[in-house]
């Protein structure tokens, strides 16, 4: 063998993380050799997504992350605190900093911040929260740094700071025709006390925010530089792969590695237990299989081949009960034994729909309204498990020594891994270092960092730096799927076709998706929402707009059918209901702003020329609100040889202030494509515990020719603080597509993936 560990630039790594203490909101540090570094911190209590947008009180912020670093030779570096998996936070969050800092954006260097242990309480990418989280603290950090640089210039020139101006990283005293760049001022600025009060620009004064800016990592991406964990290399690094049970409901009994160990390049084969017995799991500690067989060797291909030679015996699992802490506090989680199947799941879910369920909300007297109804429309919707399938399969580098535990990891919520690492790897918190790489997609999958523990255990056992690699098959058959769901919508109609009551009843395996306080709650005098769950040993996790992605498809399909039944335009009917909910809201709590909801519908109506569409237009509409942003889509579709062709999608979005319009547009386009793909093709089938689709030749993902021919994205212009786009545009795509397909085929669709249902005669 040769060239296995040839030294290269990838191996060269920063090895230390800044551990300076930051007692206050901002900390200014002089750099060795001059220059300044501004650390900032903020709070984000782990509150439910929708509540977050209203929690942006500066006094509430606690320590978080990030730096501005200015060198004497005038390099300005802004550290992005939030892990990047493609939502472009590497550009948009530093833009917030620089709006106030006013350095020359074209020259600003953006770098991903490493995990900075206990202070980064919310170094968090998820829940579409990045924009809202960063909005005040990041601009404040930028403004503070700028004020100190200005003060340094004022001191130097002996002029009042109020006479100074800043443009593109240069401080000017125009009266005396003097100027100095940030680099020249940074060392002096770092020695100054930080300003007591920081005044942020009014939105109308923004010069960077709201302008389309290119991805700061664009060049590295298109030239294939080492950005991802899978690309990471380290001197002496070994490759590890794990073998997990072939079916949910199975666990390891024994294995024989004698043949595998004879294979070239193989160092060791052993088993690991991921979480210790009795480990109290938190919400993001989900893992499908707790006992794995691990193969370690010199190179990927050698390990891939050797693992086929390991003879493993599996046994069925027993039912277990655990207390797991999640968003709603500790909850008992029952994991039944047995081998489950999709067909059986469907029967179980239909059976649950016939039984009494947990009451989630009731307004008025829906029972009487249904009893008296002249007509009841009842429709049941279902959707399968979905696999995230991020393009970069799961991987993690770990190098654990007595001095420290060093991880290079693609993970959304690094701070949530800390306790897990401490507990399961017996590593003190202060020895944990994590480099957060760019992630090759996430869609929710990388919130679940069991692979960090697995990599850590392997490094500990091997006493060597290792990179754990999941093959695509390992990743796809490893659970953490979007749950499988069912919901029934019912409407009671009187003799005049007035809707007198709405009922929503649904659940899922192992969790449901009925959001009882969301629209159309508030718009109907008589309303009932009920939910149920069926325990399962198939593990699930957050998937782009969790819960919303399914319930929106059902709700928006049902409203469309209801509008048709009562002879109303589907788009106008939604606006009518929202206006009603705004004027006379029913119930105590309705989790949406009717005006903003209406605004996206009005905008999509205008931009798609909805009112003037021909009568036979194959066009559908849907809107939804989740994760603090509003989205509406109009989809045009034609059928060609039994396949839908998406001619055009018009989207209207309200995410408050649009920080980077180019990035924002890209996010919406991607969500539209992803929504169409999952709606038409997505689905993981389980038979006797075995995930049937194992790779991308079996699990269908939308491809070039299936993407819409045209996507037009429009934003509502307003001054609300910015909210995210990773999730909100995704859920309403399904319903808009289903409603368009109905117009194209005459067939209402109730079961995802829609293409299967369309092709059923």
């Amino acid at each position: 063998m040769q060239q296995n560990h040839q030294p290269n630039k990838i191996v060269k790594m920063e090895k230390s993380i800044n551990h300076q203490s930051r007692r206050s909101f901002l900390k200014v540090t002089s750099l060795t050799g001059g220059g300044m570094m501004i650390g900032f911190s903020w709070l984000a209590n782990l509150v439910p997504n929708e509540a977050f947008a209203t929690a942006a009180n500066a006094n509430d912020w606690v320590e978080l992350t990030g730096f501005i670093k200015i060198t004497p030779d005038n390099q300005v570096k802004i550290f992005n605190p939030n892990p990047e998996f493609g939502t472009n936070v590497m550009t948009s969050l530093p833009m917030m900093v620089n709006e106030e800092l006013q350095a020359d954006w074209s020259k600003v260097i953006v770098e991903m911040g490493d995990y900075d242990t206990p202070r980064f309480k919310s170094q968090f990418t998820g829940g579409s929260r990045g924009m809202a989280q960063g909005w005040k603290p990041l601009r404040t950090a930028g403004a503070t740094a700028r004020m100190m640089l200005m003060q340094a210039a004022a001191n130097e020139w002996n002029v009042p700071v109020t006479d100074l101006t800043v443009e593109n990283g240069v401080v000017y005293h125009k009266a005396s025709n003097r100027s100095a760049n940030f680099g020249a001022l940074a060392t002096a600025a770092a020695k100054l006390p930080k300003p007591e009060k920081v005044v942020l620009k009014k939105n109308s004064a923004f010069s960077l925010i709201g302008t389309p800016q290119k991805n700061k990592v664009g060049k590295e991406i298109v030239s294939g530089q080492s950005l991802f964990t899978l690309d990471y290399k380290y001197e002496g690094m070994l490759i590890a792969m794990a073998i997990h049970p072939p079916a949910f409901g199975m666990t390891l009994r024994s294995f024989d590695a004698s043949e595998a160990l004879k294979m070239p390049g193989i160092k060791s084969v052993f088993d690991i237990q991921v979480y210790k017995d009795g480990y109290k799991r938190a919400g993001f500690d989900t893992r499908a299989f707790n006992k794995l067989v691990v193969v370690v060797g010199n190179s990927t291909w050698e390990v891939m081949n050797a693992r086929k030679k390991v003879n493993v015996q599996w046994v069925p699992t027993e039912t277990t009960k655990e207390i797991v802490s999640g968003w709603g506090g500790p909850k008992e989680e029952v994991v039944p034994g047995g081998l489950e199947s999709t067909d059986e799941h469907m029967k179980q879910m239909y059976a649950m729909q016939q039984k009494p369920a947990r009451l989630l909300r009731k307004d008025g007297d829906p029972e009487t309204a249904f009893a008296k109804a002249a007509k009841v429309i009842e429709r049941t919707y279902a959707a399968p498990f979905l696999s995230h399938n991020p393009m970069e399969p799961i991987s993690c580098f770990a190098h654990i020594t007595d001095e420290k535990a060093y991880f290079v990891a693609p993970i959304q919520i690094p701070e949530m891994m800390k306790q897990n690492i401490v507990s399961n790897l017996d590593i003190p918190a202060d020895k944990i270092e994590m480099k957060l790489t760019r992630m090759g997609g996430g869609f929710g999958r990388r919130a679940y960092g069991h692979y960090i523990i697995e990599a850590g255990l392997i490094s500990q056992k091997m006493k060597a730096p290792i990179k754990l690699i999941y093959t695509r098959e390992d990743d796809m058959t490893n659970g953490i799927y979007r749950p499988t769901y069912m919901v029934t919508y019912k409407a009671a109609l009187d003799v005049n076709n007035n809707v007198t009551a709405i009922s929503i009843k649904g659940g899922g395996i192992p969790e449901g998706s009925v959001h009882e306080n969301r629209f159309p709650a508030g718009a109907f005098e008589n309303y009932i929402a009920e939910g149920w769950e069926i325990p399962s040993n198939i593990t699930i996790g957050a998937f782009r707009a969790p819960g919303s992605n399914f319930i929106a498809s059902a709700e928006q399909s049902f409203l469309d059918e209801l509008a048709e039944a009562i002879g109303k335009d589907p788009l106008d009917y939604r606006i009518e209901l929202l206006k009603k909910a705004k004027a006379n809201p029913v119930g105590k709590r309705n989790d949406y702003d009717a005006d903003r909801y209406i605004a996206v519908l009005e905008l999509v109506k205008e931009k798609s020329n909805w009112a003037a569409r021909p009568k036979n237009a194959r066009r559908g509409v849907a809107a939804y609100f989740c994760h603090s942003s509003y989205a509406a889509h109009v989809v045009d579709v034609t059928m060609k040889d039994g396949q839908p062709v998406i001619d055009r999608v018009v989207s209207a979005i309200d995410c408050g202030v649009i920080v980077n319009p180019e990035g924002a547009k890209n996010m919406v386009e991607g969500a539209v494509v992803d929504g169409i793909g999952n709606a038409l093709y997505g689905g993981m089938r389980i038979e006797k515990g075995v995930p049937i689709q194992k790779n991308l030749n079996q699990y269908r993902i939308i491809r070039h020719k299936e993407a819409p021919k045209k996507i037009e994205v429009h934003f509502v212009q307003n001054n609300f603080d910015p909210t995210g786009l990773g999730e909100p545009p995704f859920p309403p795509v399904f319903g808009a597509l289903a409603n368009a397909l109905y117009k194209a085929t005459g067939k209402r669709l109730y079961s995802q993936p829609y293409l299967n249902e369309l092709n059923k005669s």
Binding site: M1, Q2, Q3, N4, Q6, N8, I10, F85, G86, T87, N88, K214, V217, G218, K219, I221, V222, S223, G224, Q225, L230, D231, K233, P264, S299, T300, W301, N305, N389, P390, M391, E392, P393, R438, M439, G440, G441, G442, F443, T471, R472, E473, E662, N666, E669, G670, V673, D674, G677, N695, L696, N697, I701, I702, R703, H704, K705, A707, P708, K709
Partner: protein, 156 residues
Amino acid sequence: MSKFNVKVNGKNHEVDVDPSTPVLWVLRDHLNLIGTKYGCGVGSCGACTIHLNGRALKSCQLPVSAVGAQPITTIEGIVAEAGEMHPVQKAWLELDVAQCGYCQTGQIMAAVALLKTKPNPTEEEIESAMTGNICRCGTYVRIKAAIQHAAKSSTK
């Protein structure tokens, strides 16, 4: 294990690997050319697209023993060939295509090969040539526009 001489991006390399080793892993593990990505290992996603003799090919499906004297170009070589960013890469930047970015080097390799044979591809030709390259983030509309943009700028 066997020794193979492979010509990658104009340079000869000797590697000592199992003959069945896919070129993908030769590039990534042995030659440190990590711009070629692993996505599926079954030739279904296109993240590992390289050029063999100038034609786009999925390197996870090509055993090193089948390469012989045929020259391989990877994304790293595309830059070197052009002496700067390749027009296709420039178009990608111009249209701000990437989201997570993981598939984009494979997409670019497929696009460069397409434009070599069809300097002015129709939309259908683009869709058909690019069908083997999945973008899970859904940047297809931008990829198509970038290919058209690159075609336009190189025929100017």
